[in-house]
């Protein structure tokens, strides 16, 4: 039979002065762990939230990202009238060609410069991406040097207010609207007319094609056809799959989060161990009394583990609560896929909170295990005689 839970809880709380350092240590570890993982989760969500499951994205074979892909303009004509491609009510094939260009622009408040991804899109491109909507201003007009920038980027870059202009190389573009990507990767882009983009930046080739097949079966056939046709040297995959894979940026952040958490947790384990050794030391006679009354060694070990676990849980909850302050906060980093500024939100998900709490409890249990074992191994008579 185990000791009552209130014994462990009250003992954990009664020494709050000596245990607060341990609680704060564990809170700090969990805070760092949860915050860094929430960064990675935000980036993953941004990529995972992008695209339409009905669309196919076509890039050059061997390209890992749209921005690194070059496709001859002739390929657009070759593919456009394939029978697997759906058509809109006007009878036009639902296929778009995009041009992606990286430009270096100044951030607001003199915070240096960063790459921004410009996407030259055709009218079909906008039709195929209904998740992108106009948040303010108006859409660009074809043939004009106009750009619609992401509303989230607009808060971070100079000259991105509506009506302002910015230069990139020899080109001057005027911001006529802000777009909203619905938490997708498009929130990190600026859109302009595809032909204007090619002309301004002297691009003779496209970067990618976006295609809406008639149905899922036609999509499979089209992917197989593009893959097999040696003229094209292109590969097609579902748009959502493509973006789901674009999470390379999250990997080092996740790694850093885990590394820091593990490193810091070693310190936290020792802090917990110190606290629990002190707890065992000051309660030796009490432990002896419990043994005399008939409680077995394992009951004492369990009670102390619960006590350590409970302390760690408080620390974990505190760390999660502090980290939660940043939930939804928008920030940006350089994306390793496009080498451009990508905007995303800290996402403290229930799963992350659960992982943080579990991590905290594991730290607490690891720190308590040896002191608990020591307490259990104390000879009863020696424990009773201790001062």
């Amino acid at each position: 039979m185990a000791l009552p839970l209130r014994y462990s809880f009250r003992n954990a709380l009664v020494r709050w002065r000596s245990t607060s350092a341990t609680v704060l240590g564990i809170a700090l570890v969990v805070f760092v762990f949860v915050l860094l993982q929430s960064l990675a989760a935000g980036i993953e969500r941004s990529s995972g939230n992008t695209g339409d499951p009905r669309n196919l994205l076509v890039v050059r074979k061997g390209s890992t990202a749209e921005s690194a892909s070059l496709i001859a303009r002739q390929n657009f004509q070759d593919l456009r009238y394939l029978p697997e491609i759906a058509r809109n009510p006007q009878g036009e094939p639902l296929m778009a060609a995009d041009v992606l260009v990286l430009v270096n622009l100044p951030r607001r408040q003199g915070a240096g410069e960063a790459n921004v991804l410009l996407r030259g899109v055709t009218p079909r491109g906008m039709e195929l991406r209904p998740q992108v909507r106009l948040a303010a201003g108006r859409w660009f007009e074809p043939g004009h040097r106009e750009v619609v920038v992401s509303a989230k980027l607009a808060r971070r870059f100079e000259h991105f207010d509506i009506g302002q202009s910015f230069r990139s190389g020899s080109a001057t573009l005027t911001v006529v609207g802000w777009l909203e990507g619905g938490g997708s990767a498009f929130d990190s882009e600026c859109w302009l007319d595809a032909d204007e983009c090619r002309s301004l930046f002297e691009r003779d080739m496209y970067s990618s094609f976006l295609i809406r097949p008639r149905d899922a079966a036609a999509g499979e056939q089209l992917m197989a056809r593009i893959e097999a046709d040696r003229r094209f040297k292109l590969k097609a995959e579902r748009e959502v799959d493509y973006y789901r894979k674009q999470t390379m940026t999250a990997a080092p952040i996740k790694w850093l989060g885990n590394f820091l958490a593990v490193t810091m947790s070693i310190g936290a384990v020792f802090a917990a161990m110190n606290t629990m050794y002190a707890a065992v030391g000051s309660r030796t006679r009490e432990i002896g009394t419990l043994r005399v009354l008939g409680f077995r060694r394992r009951s004492v070990v369990l009670a102390l583990l619960l006590e350590g676990g409970f302390l760690a849980l408080i620390g974990g909850a505190l760390g999660c609560a502090v980290a939660f302050y940043w939930n939804g906060y928008t920030t940006a980093t350089m994306g390793f896929e496009t080498f451009s500024e990508i905007v995303f939100e800290f996402r403290i998900t229930p799963r992350l909170v659960a992982e943080g709490l579990l991590f905290a409890v594991m730290v607490g249990l690891a720190g308590t295990f040896l002191p608990a074992l020591r307490a259990a191994r104390l000879p009863v008579i020696a424990a009773l005689k201790s001062l």
């Binding site: 039979m1 009552p4 209130r6 014994y7 009250r10 009490e286 009394t289 419990l290 005399v292 008939g294």
Partner: protein
């Protein structure tokens, strides 16, 4: 006249401690019997072995050699887990320093030994309330030990010793930390447990006045019975 059955039979009990290379004999070939319902006091100077003898009889310590039968069970032959169960079911403990758990109330302290039994919470509550009433602390059951006087703490400890209704109650200097009035109350309580309530009480004490409450007194010196 009926001769009461012995509840404790000790035969040739020795306890030798090793302190570095020196061996210290705490008990040397002790033999004695204690009848059921006796209030036996163990007296002797410090280091005479009286607490060691008490601990061995109560199954807290192990002898180097000899037998110790309590209610027919040789406690020296029980393993660690068996001893824990045996102590819970058969022995009530009263310590000089009360040894209450500071974070638990009087009620919860008294309830502790019952948590190791199969009793339900309602039955446990009844038994705890009954023993707290017996020691006159019904109105203090939700107090923490620090909210009680020394005498009240010791009475809670006696209630804890009695709550499982053991045949044997052992008390190690139970009045050592009490003022004379509280000591009298505690000794009176222990005395009432023996003949009237049928329990066997073994008490270690230095104090001849305390020993006078017992029905029999034995003296140890240098690990041997002197009278």
């Amino acid at each position: 006249m009926d001769i009461p059955e012995p509840i404790v039979t000790v035969r040739n009990l020795s306890k030798i401690y090793a302190q570095g290379e020196i061996q210290v004999t705490a008990l040397n070939q002790i033999s004695l019997t204690i009848a059921a319902g006796e209030f036996l006091t163990l007296m002797g100077p410090s280091g005479s072995g009286k607490s060691t003898l008490l601990h061995i009889i109560a199954g807290v310590d192990r002898p180097t050699s000899g037998e110790c039968l309590v209610q027919g069970v040789d406690v020296t032959q029980l393993n660690e887990s068996e001893l824990a169960d045996w102590r819970n079911q058969n022995v009530g403990f009263v310590f000089q320093t009360f040894n209450l758990i500071p974070v638990l109330t009087a009620f919860e302290n008294v309830e502790l030994p019952l948590l190791l039994t199969r009793l339900g919470s309602a039955q446990r509550r009844r038994q705890v309330e009954a023993v707290l009433d017996l020691v006159g602390l019904s109105d203090r059951m939700h107090h923490l030990p620090r909210q009680l006087s020394g005498g009240q703490e010791q009475r809670v400890a006696i209630a804890r010793a009695l709550v499982t209704d053991p045949k044997l109650v052992v008390a190690d200097e139970p009045t050592g930390n009490l003022d004379s009035r509280s000591a009298q109350e505690v000794l009176g309580l222990l005395q009432s447990l023996s003949r009237p309530a049928g329990k066997t009480v073994i008490m270690v004490t230095h104090d001849p006045k305390a020993a006078a409450f017992g029905s029999r007194s034995i003296h140890l010196e240098k690990g041997e019975l002197t009278r």
